[in-house]
C-alpha cells in the first residue's frame, strides 16, 4: 500500500474524529510529505507508521460503518413512529383480545382464545355484510372513477386542472358533514326519492331487497351510496396518476396497427393502468370495509357493519376483549384478501 494513500486515509480519519490536534497535525504533515514524495519512497513508511498506525485501523471500517448507518438514521423517525403508533397498540390490542375480566376487576391475560370464535360466530353476518358492501362500493367506484380518470388524463385538455379540483374539493369538507348531506339528498320527501318512486325503480330495488318500501335512506342502497361517494376520490387519484403516465404515442401506434379504439383500450391502456386499478381498489376497499359512519348515519339496524360492532363493544358494552378480537379478525381477513388479490392481479410494481 502506498504511503500517499495511507496518509490520505489518515487525513480523512482525522477530519472525521478530530480527537487530538497533535494527531491531525501529524497526519497533515505526513500527507504533505506523502504528496511531495509522489513516487512513494519506502523509507518514509517507518516514520509515519507508528503514529498513523492506531489511527489507521478504523479508516478501514469507520467510514463504511458510518455510511451503512446513514439509512438507519434516516429511517429512525419512521421506525419510532411505527413502533409507538403501530406496533405498541397492535401488541396491546393482541393482548387485550386474549384477556378476560371486567372494568372493575381489571382484565388479565388468560389466553382465552375462545373469544375469537365467539366473536366470529356471533357477528359473522356483520363481517360478511362489511365485505359485501365494501366490495360493491369498490366496484361502483371503479366503474364511476375509471371513465372520469381517463377523461382527466387524456381528454380534459385545459379543463384538466378544473376537473381535478372538482374531484379533490369535497375533501375540504369534513367526512361527517358529507355523509350527513346524503341524508338530505336521499330524504323521503326529497326529489331523488320522488323521481325514483314515480319511475317505479324503487319497486324493483325493493323487490331485490336493496331498498325498503318507498324509501332509500336506512336501506343497504343508501349505505353503499355513501361508501361509494366518500371513497371515490381514493379511486380516481391513483387511476389518474397511472393513466397519465401512459405515452399517448402508444395509442397512435395501436391505431397504426389497425386496432379499434376498444381493442386499444383492452390491450394497451387497461393493462398499463393496472397498478392504478390495484392501488385504487385497495385504497377504496380497505377503509370502506372498516367504516362505520356510513352504516351509522345512512343505515338501519340491518345494515350495521363490523366497525359499528367494534365501536359499540368498545364504548358501550365495555367488552374490550371481544372488540379487540374483532379488530384482529377484520385485520387478518383484509390482509388475506389483499394478499390473494395482489398475487392474482400480478402487480409487483405496486407503489
Amino acid at each position: 500500500m502506498s504511503v500517499s494513500r495511507r496518509a490520505a486515509w489518515a487525513g480523512l480519519r482525522s477530519r472525521a474524529a478530530t480527537k487530538e490536534r497533535a494527531v491531525t497535525r501529524e497526519a497533515r504533515a505526513s500527507e504533505r510529505a506523502g504528496t511531495e514524495r509522489a513516487g512513494g519512497s519506502v523509507t518514509a513508511a517507518p516514520e509515519t507508521a507508528p503514529d498513523a498506525g492506531p489511527v489507521q485501523k478504523p479508516p478501514l471500517i469507520k467510514p463504511a460503518v458510518r455510511k451503512r448507518l446513514v439509512p438507519y438514521w434516516l429511517l429512525l423517525p419512521g421506525i419510532l413512529w411505527l413502533l409507538i403508533f403501530f406496533a405498541a397498540p397492535l401488541i396491546y390490542q393482541a393482548s387485550t383480545s386474549v384477556q378476560t375480566g371486567s372494568l372493575e376487576e381489571g382484565f388479565k391475560v388468560t389466553w382465552h382464545f375462545q373469544t375469537y370464535w365467539d366473536a366470529l360466530s356471533e357477528y359473522y353476518p356483520q363481517f360478511l355484510r362489511s365485505v359485501l358492501y365494501a366490495a360493491t362500493a369498490t366496484v361502483l367506484c371503479l366503474l364511476l372513477g375509471y371513465p372520469l380518470a381517463y377523461l382527466i388524463a387524456f381528454r380534459a385538455g385545459r379543463w384538466r386542472n378544473l376537473v381535478m379540483i372538482l374531484v379533490i374539493a369535497p375533501f375540504f369538507t369534513s367526512f361527517l358533514i358529507r355523509t350527513l348531506a346524503w341524508k338530505t339528498i336521499l330524504s323521503d320527501s326529497g326529489p331523488v326519492v320522488g323521481v325514483l318512486n314515480s319511475l317505479h325503480i324503487l319497486d324493483v330495488t325493493s323487490y331485490l331487497g336493496i331498498t325498503e318500501g318507498q324509501r332509500v335512506l336506512a336501506t343497504p342502497l343508501a349505505v353503499v351510496c355513501g361508501l361509494t361517494y366518500n371513497f371515490l376520490p381514493f379511486m380516481i387519484l391513483p387511476l389518474y396518476t397511472s393513466l397519465e403516465r401512459i405515452d399517448p404515442r402508444l395509442h397512435e401506434a395501436a391505431g397504426d396497427l389497425y386496432a379499434r379504439p376498444f381493442t386499444t383500450f383492452r390491450k394497451v391502456t387497461f393493462p398499463l393502468s393496472m397498478p392504478g386499478v390495484v392501488a385504487g381498489t385497495l385504497l377504496t376497499f380497505i377503509p370502506s370495509a372498516g367504516d362505520y359512519i356510513n352504516a351509522e348515519l345512512l343505515g338501519s339496524t340491518d345494515q350495521k357493519m363490523i366497525g359499528n360492532v367494534i365501536q359499540s363493544q368498545f364504548l358501550r358494552v365495555l367488552d374490550y376483549p371481544t372488540a379487540a378480537a374483532m379488530s384482529f379478525i377484520l385485520m387478518a381477513a383484509i390482509l388475506t384478501m389483499v394478499t390473494v388479490y395482489i398475487r392474482k392481479s400480478g402487480t409487483e410494481d405496486l407503489v
Partner: protein, 415 residues
C-alpha cells in the same frame, strides 16, 4: 494487529469486492435473512412475552388519597367541561353567567364544550382516572348512569355540604335522592332530561301518537319510527308501556322489553336507533314519530310548528345530567363555589331559559317568568305535580348487569 495485517494483505479491488458483497451481494442476503430469522424469532418470543405481560389493571380506585391537593386559594380559576350548547350564550360567544361569576368571585372559568357523548367522554378520561391522575378538569357534567359508574369506581370526590348552602337548600325534591348517590354526596344535578314521544303532524297525516305501543305497532308508522340509542330511555319507556317499573327492573322484565322491541324492529317498524340526530329526521318528516328528549323538542317546536309531543299516560323517563368533581382536580373549592352559584335561582333561570331542559332548582319560576312567561309555564322545563308523578328513572345497575344489558341492547340495535 491481526486484523490490520489481514486487511493490509487484501488488495483494494478485493476490499471493494468484499464491501460490494456485504452491501448488495450474497453476503448481504445472508445477513439480511439472518436478521429476518432473528427478528422473527425475537418478535415471536418478545411478542408472546409482551402479550402475557400486558393486562388492564382494575379501574376502580380504593385508596383514600384521591382527594386533590387543593390549589383553589392561590389559583383563581377552574376548568369546567360541559356538553355542547348547554349553557347560556351572550354577545361574542361569551357566557354571561360565567362572566358574572368571575366578577363576583374573581375566579376565572375555563369553559370547554368537550363532551359530545357519554361513552366517548368516558373513554377519553378513563386512562387518567384509572391510573389515579389529574384529568385537568375540575368540574364535569355527565349523565346519571355514567356518574353512577364513576362514583362506583371511586373516581369522584365527595362534596363538602358546608360549601354548598344554596345548592343544599334549593335542590328540587325530585332530584334529591337518586339511588346511585344517596344524599347527593358526590354530585349535583345540572338538568333533568325527560324522554317523551314526539311526532311530526305532517308526516303522520294529522294522526296523534300517544303511546309506545302505537310507536311499536301502528302499521301507519311502519318504517318511520325512531328510537333512542340511550338504552335506559328506550327500554325504560317500553317497560313503562308494559306496566313495569324501571325503578325495580329485573332481568326477566328487561328481556321481555327487549323481545318486544326486537319484534317491532324485525317487522321493519323501526327505522333507526338515533342519538341527537333524530331532530333533523323528525323535522324533515323522514321519521314520523319517535322517542325524543324534551329540551330538543322545545327548540324544534320553535322552528317547526308541525312538531308535537305527548307525555305517555304510562309515564316517561327522566335522566339527569350531573356536575361532578373528579379525583385529583386542582380546584375543588372553586368547583364547589361554582356549583353553589348555579343553584341561585336567578342564575338557574338564565341557564334554563337558554337550554330548555328541566331545571333542578326550586324557586326559579318567578325568575324565569321575568325572562319568558311561556317558558315558566312549560311543564317540560318546570314540571308540575302531575308531571313529577309520571316521571320515572332507571334503576342503577351493577357493573355485571350493565354489561349484560348493554350487550343485549347492542344486539337489538344491530351492532
Amino acid at each position: 494487529m491481526e486484523e490490520r495485517h489481514e486487511a493490509e494483505s487484501l488488495s483494494p479491488p478485493q476490499i471493494a469486492a468484499i464491501r460490494r458483497s456485504l452491501t448488495s451481494g450474497r453476503m448481504a442476503l445472508t445477513r439480511r435473512s439472518l436478521l429476518r430469522a432473528g427478528g422473527a424469532g425475537a418478535i415471536a418470543v418478545g411478542g408472546l412475552g409482551a402479550l402475557g405481560g400486558c393486562g388492564i389493571p382494575p379501574a376502580g380506585r380504593t385508596e383514600v388519597d384521591n382527594a386533590s391537593d387543593d390549589h383553589s386559594a392561590e389559583e383563581k380559576r377552574i376548568n369546567f367541561s360541559n356538553w355542547t350548547e348547554y349553557i347560556d350564550v351572550g354577545k361574542g360567544n361569551r357566557h354571561p353567567t360565567l362572566d358574572e361569576f368571575h366578577r363576583r368571585t374573581g375566579i376565572k372559568v375555563k369553559y370547554t364544550e368537550d363532551i359530545n357523548d357519554n361513552v366517548e367522554f368516558f373513554g377519553k378520561i378513563k386512562p387518567q382516572l384509572a391510573a389515579g391522575q389529574d384529568t385537568g378538569r375540575d368540574l364535569i357534567c355527565v349523565t346519571d348512569w355514567l356518574a353512577a359508574r364513576m362514583i362506583r369506581l371511586g373516581w369522584i370526590q365527595p362534596l363538602d355540604p358546608a360549601q354548598l348552602p344554596h345548592a343544599f337548600t334549593n335542590l328540587a325534591k325530585s332530584f334529591r335522592t337518586p339511588d346511585w348517590d344517596p344524599g347527593r354526596a358526590h354530585s349535583y344535578a345540572w338538568s333533568g332530561i325527560p324522554a317523551v314521544i314526539a311526532y311530526n303532524k305532517k308526516a303522520t297525516g294529522g294522526r296523534k301518537v300517544t303511546s309506545v305501543s302505537q310507536l311499536l305497532e301502528d302499521p301507519k308508522l311502519k318504517g318511520r319510527v325512531g328510537l333512542l340509542t340511550e338504552m335506559r330511555d328506550t327500554v325504560g319507556l317500553t317497560l313503562l308501556d308494559m306496566g313495569k317499573r324501571p325503578e325495580t327492573v329485573t332481568a326477566d322484565d328487561y328481556d321481555a322489553a327487549i323481545a318486544r322491541l326486537q319484534k317491532a324492529s324485525d317487522r321493519g317498524q323501526v327505522r333507526r336507533f338515533t342519538g341527537n340526530d333524530y331532530t333533523g329526521d323528525l323535522t324533515k318528516g323522514d321519521i314520523a314519530a319517535c322517542m325524543a328528549w324534551a329540551g330538543d323538542l322545545i327548540q324544534l317546536q320553535a322552528d317547526n310548528p308541525e312538531i308535537e309531543f305527548t307525555i305517555p299516560d304510562a309515564g316517561y323517563m327522566t335522566a339527569t345530567d350531573n356536575l361532578l368533581v373528579p379525583n385529583k382536580a386542582r380546584h375543588k373549592r372553586n368547583a364547589e363555589r361554582l356549583i353553589d352559584y348555579f343553584y341561585e335561582p336567578k342564575v338557574a333561570a338564565k341557564i334554563a331559559a337558554y337550554i330548555n331542559y328541566v331545571c333542578p332548582v326550586d324557586g326559579v319560576r318567578e325568575e324565569l317568568a321575568k325572562i319568558d312567561k311561556a317558558l315558566a309555564d312549560n311543564p317540560l322545563i318546570l314540571p308540575d305535580e302531575e308531571m313529577v308523578a309520571k316521571s320515572h328513572a332507571f334503576r342503577s345497575l351493577s357493573s355485571k348487569e350493565e354489561t349484560a344489558f348493554e350487550d343485549k341492547f347492542a344486539k337489538l340495535t344491530g351492532a
